[in-house]
C-alpha cells in the first residue's frame, strides 16, 4: 500500500518533467493537435538550436552559475560560523539575538525585497553582481540548519580537542566543521539549487541582458514566444540540465545531511 502510494507520488512529480523533455523535441504545430500527443512523431532538435541562440545560453548559464556558486560558498561560511557561535561561544545577548533572528523566518520574502532593493539602489549596485549576490549571502534557515548540526555533535570530541591544545579557531576549522561535513554538503547543494531557481530578486535587481539569470531568461522567452511551447520547453530543459546533474550527483549526501547523520558520525 505504502509502496503504491510512493510510486504514485513519484509518477505525479516526475511526469511533468518527462513531458517537458518530450515536448521539447516536437515540432511547433504538433502540439496544436487534439488530443495533444505524448511523444513527438518526428523528433527534432531544432528547438534546442533556436533556444540556445535566443537565450543567449552561455551568458545566462555563466551568470546563474556565478550567482549560485557565490551564494553557496557565502551561505555555507556564514551559516557555519554563525551556527557555531550560537552553539559554542558564550557572549552577551546570544540567546536574544538568536530568537530575534528566527523571527525573521516568519516574514515572507516579499516583505524584505523592497527594503533590500532600496539599500542596493543606494549603494549603486543595481544591475551588478554585488547587487545580485550580496543580499543572498546570509540565510537564516542555513544558520538554524548548521546550528542544529553542531548541537548534535558529540561533546567529547570537542573536549578532547581542547585538551589537545586546540583554540577556538582550530576547533572550528579542524574539528567541528569537518565533523559536520554531511550537513555542510547538504546546505551547499540546497543553497545552490535554490539560487539556480531564484527569480524574484534577480528580476528586480538586474536590468540588462548581460546580467540575466536562468529563470529571468526563461520568463523573457515565455513573453517573447508565448505560442511556441516546444521552443520554451527546450529552453527550460537546457537551464534545468545543470540542476538535474547536481541532483544526481549530490542526492545521496543531501539526504545524509538532512537526516543529520553527521551527528552519528562513526567514532
Amino acid at each position: 500500500m505504502r509502496k503504491t502510494l510512493l510510486v504514485g507520488a513519484a509518477i505525479v512529480m516526475i511526469a511533468p518533467f518527462l513531458y517537458m523533455v518530450s515536448v521539447s523535441f516536437m515540432g511547433e504545430s504538433e502540439l496544436l493537435r487534439w488530443p495533444p500527443p505524448l511523444f513527438p512523431t518526428s523528433p527534432t532538435t531544432a528547438n534546442y538550436a533556436a533556444a540556445i541562440a535566443a537565450l543567449p545560453f552561455n551568458r545566462v548559464l555563466l551568470n546563474t552559475a556565478v550567482l549560485a556558486g557565490c551564494v553557496m560558498i557565502g551561505q555555507v561560511l556564514t551559516s557555519a560560523a554563525a551556527g557555531y557561535a550560537f552553539v559554542r561561544l558564550k557572549f552577551p545577548g546570544r540567546d536574544g539575538t538568536f530568537r530575534l533572528m528566527t523571527l525573521a523566518l516568519i516574514l515572507p520574502t516579499i516583505f524584505l525585497v523592497i527594503p533590500r532593493y532600496l539599500m542596493i539602489e543606494a549603494l549603486g549596485w543595481i544591475d551588478t553582481f554585488p547587487g545580485l549576490i550580496s543580499t543572498e549571502l546570509v540565510s537564516v534557515w542555513g544558520i538554524l540548519f548548521m546550528r542544529h548540526a553542531f548541537l548534535m555533535q558529540p561533546r567529547d570530541i570537542e573536549d578532547a580537542a581542547r585538551l589537545d591544545g586546540a583554540g577556538e579557531w582550530t576547533l572550528f576549522w579542524q574539528v567541528t566543521l569537518p565533523l559536520a561535513r554531511p550537513a555542510v554538503t547538504a546546505l551547499a547543494v540546497l543553497a545552490f539549487m535554490d539560487q539556480w531557481r531564484n527569480f524574484l530578486w534577480p528580476l528586480m535587481v538586474t536590468r540588462s541582458a548581460r546580467m540575466e539569470v536562468a529563470e529571468v531568461a526563461l520568463a523573457r522567452l515565455h513573453g517573447d514566444y508565448a505560442a511556441n511551447v516546444p521552443y520554451q520547453m527546450a529552453a527550460a530543459v537546457l537551464v534545468s540540465l545543470p540542476l538535474f546533474l547536481v541532483c544526481l550527483i549530490a542526492s545521496r549526501s543531501v539526504m545524509a545531511g538532512v537526516r543529520f547523520t553527521g551527528a552519528d558520525a562513526r567514532l
Binding site: 567529547d156 573536549d159 578532547a160 585538551l163 589537545d164 591544545g165 569537518p178 562513526r266 567514532l267
Partner: protein
C-alpha cells in the same frame, strides 16, 4: 609528572544542582588513584574540573606546584581519555595520535617517531592508516590512549575508558593500562563505577557519594574499614548487607546481653553503650544458612544465584533484604524458610545517619 590537590572544591551547575560539596583530595605524584562512586556521584565532574573543561564554583585545583583553577584546558598539560573514544572521525589513527603534537608545533620527524612509539606500545601499528570507523572498539580506545600519552602529559585523567568494552577486552586493556602506568610512572586519576575495576587497579580508592568524598584509602582499607554506610554498601560484589535495627537489652549476662533486632533477626552484640535505632552491616561472606530456629533468626529464600565456585542467596529477613554468599552449590530452594547465622566478629555498626559506631 605531578601531584594533584583539590582544595574545598565545589561545583554548582547552571540549573542549581550542586555536583560537588567542598571536596578535598590529594593525588600523589605517580599514583594511580581511582575515583569510585555510583552514577551521579560527581566523579566525572571532578575530572572535568581538573581538566579545565568545567568551571569551578569555589575552591582550588593545584597541579604540581601550580594553581590552575582559572587556566584553560590546554595550559594545564593534562590528557583525558573519555568513555567514548572521542577520536576525530575524519582523521586516520596516525593523524589522531599526531594531532596534539601538531597543535604544539612539534617538528615533523619527531612527530613521526613519537606516534610510532605510542602505536607500538599500544599494538596499533597495523591500523595507523585507517580511520576510527574502520577499526574495532578496543583499537579505538587504544588509539584514544595513544593520543593521550603521545605528548607526555603530567597527568592522565581516565573517565570510565573501559566501560563500553566487552568483558574479555576490558580485562585485557585493564592489564595494559596498569603496565602503561608502571612504564610511564605517570600520575593517573581513573574514574569508574565498577568497584571490581577500582579494587584491581587503584593504589588508592576515593569513594564518592552525592558529591561528597566519603573515604580515601587502599582497596583493603575501604573494604575492611568502610568510613560509613555508603562506602560499606558500595564496595564489594555484592555490597555489604545493611540491616535497619534497634539496640535492646540491659547488658546483663542473665538477660543474654544486648541484642539488635533487625527484621526477623535478633543479633547479639557486645556494644554496651548504645540504645535505639542503628544500622548493622555484614558482608555476604559472613552470613551463613542453618536449620530453621537454629541461628539468629529465620528468613525466606527469594532468589538463588549459583555462580559455580559460590552461590549467592537472596533472603528476606522480616522485610529486610539480606544476601548470603556460600561456597559451591547450596541446597536451598526458593520459597522455603531457612535459619540465618552470622559471624558476630564481622559485624559493622553504624548509627542511623550512617556513621560508624564503636
Amino acid at each position: 609528572m605531578a601531584s594533584v590537590t583539590l582544595r574545598r572544591l565545589s561545583k554548582v551547575y547552571d540549573g542549581g544542582v550542586q555536583a560537588l560539596h567542598h571536596l578535598d583530595l590529594e593525588v600523589r605524584d605517580g599514583e594511580l588513584l581511582v575515583l569510585l562512586g555510583p552514577s551521579g556521584s560527581g566523579k566525572t565532574t571532578i575530572l572535568r574540573c581538573i581538566a579545565g573543561l568545567e568551571e569551578v564554583t569555589t575552591g582550588e585545583v593545584v597541579i604540581g606546584e601550580r594553581v590552575v583553577t582559572n587556566e584553560p584546558p590546554a595550559a594545564r598539560d593534562v590528557a583525558m581519555v573519555f568513555q567514548s573514544p572521542a577520536l576525530y572521525p575524519h582523521l586516520t589513527v596516525r593523524d589522531n595520535i599526531a594531532f596534539p603534537l601538531e597543535l604544539r608545533g612539534v617538528a615533523r620527524t619527531q612527530i613521526t617517531r613519537r606516534v610510532l612509539e605510542a602505536a607500538t606500545r599500544l599494538h596499533l601499528e597495523r591500523v595507523l592508516e585507517r580511520r576510527p570507523g574502520q577499526i574495532s572498539e578496543g583499537e579505538r580506545q587504544r588509539a584514544a590512549l595513544g593520543r593521550a600519552m603521545v605528548r607526555g602529559p603530567q597527568l592522565f585523567l581516565l573517565d570510565e575508558p573501559l566501560s563500553r568494552l566487552d568483558a574479555q577486552l576490558r580485562i585485557e586493556l585493564r592489564g595494559e593500562l596498569l603496565a602503561l602506568h608502571r612504564a610511564l610512572g605517570a600520575t593517573m586519576i581513573y574514574v569508574t563505577h565498577d568497584q571490581t575495576e577500582a579494587m584491581t587497579m587503584g593504589q588508592r580508592i576515593a569513594v564518592l557519594h552525592e558529591g561528597r568524598l566519603r573515604q580515601t584509602g587502599t582497596p583493603e582499607e575501604v573494604y575492611q574499614r568502610p568510613a560509613d554506610v555508603h562506602v560499606a554498601r558500595f564496595i564489594g560484589t555484592p555490597g555489604m548487607n545493611v540491616l535497619q535495627g534497634k539496640g535492646r537489652g540491659t547488658g546483663e549476662k542473665a538477660d543474654g546481653g544486648r541484642v539488635i533486632e533487625a527484621g526477623s533477626l535478633a543479633i547479639p552484640i557486645e556494644l554496651t553503650t548504645y540504645e535505639g535505632e542503628l544500622q548493622v552491616g555484614i558482608r555476604p561472606e559472613y552470613v551463613g544458612l542453618c536449620a530453621v530456629d537454629k541461628g539468629v533468626g529465620n528468613a525466606d529464600v527469594l532468589v538463588v544465584e549459583p555462580l559455580g565456585s559460590e552461590t549467592l542467596i537472596h533472603l528476606n529477613a522480616g522485610g529486610q533484604p539480606l544476601v548470603a554468599r556460600v561456597p559451591g552449590f547450596a541446597d536451598v530452594r526458593v520459597g522455603t524458610q531457612v535459619g540465618v547465622k552470622v559471624d558476630r566478629r564481622r559485624l559493622y555498626l553504624f548509627d542511623s545517619a550512617g556513621a560508624p559506631l564503636g
